[in-house]
């Protein structure tokens, strides 16, 4: 079944020069292998077409159930050079959460409700 990442993960993003980083964190550790399989560097590069002009690197952080993405040449020059409202890529976290991926139906039973309605 198709599920938006907003239902499966949370994220935080920031900058280093003209490179944005997005940390994508599974809301349940059980979702992590699916994120690893589906949210590849190539997929993220395609998702951010028109924004990310350089390569995308991906790093796995299994102990945190997280993936870290580096989106090179994505901030209009970065820092004080950039003309963008979001020159630091602070909102790229949720831009990534717009992505829709294929998830095994048994894994996702709409129990989490995503970042807004997660059970405590």
């Amino acid at each position: 079944m198709k599920v938006q990442l907003l239902q499966l993960a949370h994220a935080r993003s920031g900058d280093k020069g003209d490179t944005a980083n997005i940390g994508l964190i599974a809301l349940e550790l059980a979702y992590y292998p699916t994120l690893v399989k589906e949210v590849t560097a190539a997929r993220v590069k395609k998702h951010f077409r028109g924004i990310c002009k350089g390569p995308v690197e991906r790093f796995e952080i299994p102990n945190l159930g997280a993936l870290n993405f580096l989106l090179h040449e994505s901030l209009g020059g970065g820092g004080t050079v950039s003309l963008k409202t979001d020159a630091q890529g602070k909102t790229y976290s949720t831009a990534l959460l717009r992505m829709v991926i294929e998830v095994p139906p048994a894994l996702f039973r709409k129990k989490s409700g995503g970042i807004a309605g997660r059970r405590r």
Binding site: G50, G76, I115, A116
Partner: protein, 419 residues
């Protein structure tokens, strides 16, 4: 306390060139005035990189405050300097130390004439040295924000310069607390509406142990939240390769961090591993890189987005006909696509208003100046129902760009003094 963003040094350098008594974070002094009596009474030491490009002047200002409070006999002010290498760049370049840009591989020579500031990032050890000399207020120039947290742990627990795992743990602790309340519920996405008491949010506290484990918590009675998802968000913030978080003190491996909720608003960190530090300091150089300006206008319903797009066309047509030279002209429509660009969903047809935002960048200041005169006239000469021009003409700003480099540690020696 951390005062120095990447751009701060160039601002402070300009202040110092106008007045040799300036060039440090002035905000620090009134805070010291407020907290010093209690810190002296409870034997709490203060460490801050508030010294900017003039740690000596900052230390003297701290001394003056202590004097005023009648506490001068009870404090020793430590100064860590030597990070400012702006006066040594030509010497480095002549000896073949190229200070090439870590991202673009260009040699510094390309922008040498436009450099405004140049500093290395020191780590924890110069601060440890000042602590050993008995300083209870320490001001530094450029140093890593993780070093500010690691130093008191290394000093207190007697960690050695090759205790890579424990140094890595202290570095992870520093990274966790380095951005205000971002590890205690600020800017936290998970269940953000249920983070309690943001108006009185508690800042993070590290409870450190000799073995390199630590707990992140916050004061009782403050707002915010410390839980595993919140802390994870901060751990991945501004992260590069998680296996190699490089500081002057060590290389920390974020893939070894184990987290456990051990009570309300308490997260325990353990298992952290590190590797030997590299032989380099990171260098942060700022240089002048042209001019920019950004103008905005707000268009109201109906057809707000259509009107904003029409305004954009008018401005661009005029800039083109005047033959101005820009490296970039960027248009954003706030309310439609300013955050997520082409990923944004289609705006509703009856959208109440849209802000038209257009920016330009150029090496030619006059061209940017000319652009700033093109926005306000649109209120009378362009598409209808427009407002938001009260600020007048956009400001022309100098662009101070950032040049990251590396230098061998043997080239730069930290200077530690105690007043």
């Amino acid at each position: 306390m951390d005062y120095l963003a990447e751009i701060t040094m160039s601002i402070l350098q300009k202040q110092k060139s106008r007045d040799p008594r300036l060039g440090y974070a002035k905000d620090f002094i009134p805070i010291v005035e407020r907290i010093l009596p209690r810190c002296v009474e409870k034997n709490i030491r203060i460490i801050a990189n508030a010294g900017g490009v003039n740690p000596q002047a900052c230390a003297e200002a701290v001394r003056a405050v202590a004097e005023k409070l009648g506490l001068s006999s009870r404090i020793k002010v430590g100064i860590v300097s030597g990070d400012d290498i702006s006066g040594r760049l030509d010497d480095f370049l002549s000896r073949g130390v190229t200070l090439e840009n870590m991202e673009t591989r260009e040699p510094l020579q390309a922008v040498r004439g436009r450099v405004q500031s140049a500093n290395v990032y020191f780590g924890a050890w110069p601060i440890v040295e000042a602590l050993k000399k008995g300083a209870n207020v320490i001001v530094t120039g450029r140093c890593t924000d993780t070093g500010l947290s690691l130093a008191p742990m290394a000093f207190e627990f007697g960690w050695e310069e090759e205790d890579w795992h424990r140094l890595a743990a202290g570095t992870v602790a520093g990274h966790t607390v380095e951005c205000g309340a971002q590890s205690t519920g600020g800017n936290s996405l998970v269940n953000w509406k249920r983070v309690p008491g943001l108006a009185n949010i508690g800042y993070p506290i590290i409870e450190a142990f000799e073995d390199g484990t630590f707990v992140i918590t916050k004061h009782k009675g403050t707002g915010g939240r410390v839980d595993v998802p919140t802390v994870k968000e901060q751990l991945v913030y501004e992260m590069g390769d998680p296996r190699s978080y490089i500081t002057p003190d060590c290389i920390a491996d974020f893939t070894t961090i184990q987290l456990r909720q051990e009570g309300k608003d308490r997260v325990r960190f353990s298992g952290i591993r590190g590797r030997p530090a590299t032989p380099f300091y990171k260098v942060s150089i700022s240089y002048s890189s042209g001019w920019k300006a950004v103008g905005t206008l707000v268009y109201g319903w109906p057809e707000a987005y259509e009107k904003a797009k029409a305004a954009d066309k008018v401005v661009r047509d005029r800039l083109r006909s005047m033959g101005l030279k820009f490296e970039e002209v960027l248009t954003e429509f706030v309310g439609v696509d300013a955050c997520h660009g082409p990923l944004s969903s289609e705006p509703p047809p009856d959208i109440a208003e849209v802000q038209f935002r257009i920016g330009v960048r150029s090496q030619i200041k006059d061209d940017v100046e000319r652009f700033t005169r093109e926005i306000v006239p649109l209120v009378l000469n362009g598409p209808p129902t427009v407002t938001g021009f009260a600020g007048g003409r956009p400001k022309v700003e100098e662009i101070v760009a950032y040049w990251p480099g590396l230098i061998l540690k043997s080239e730069v020696v930290p200077v530690i003094e105690v007043l």
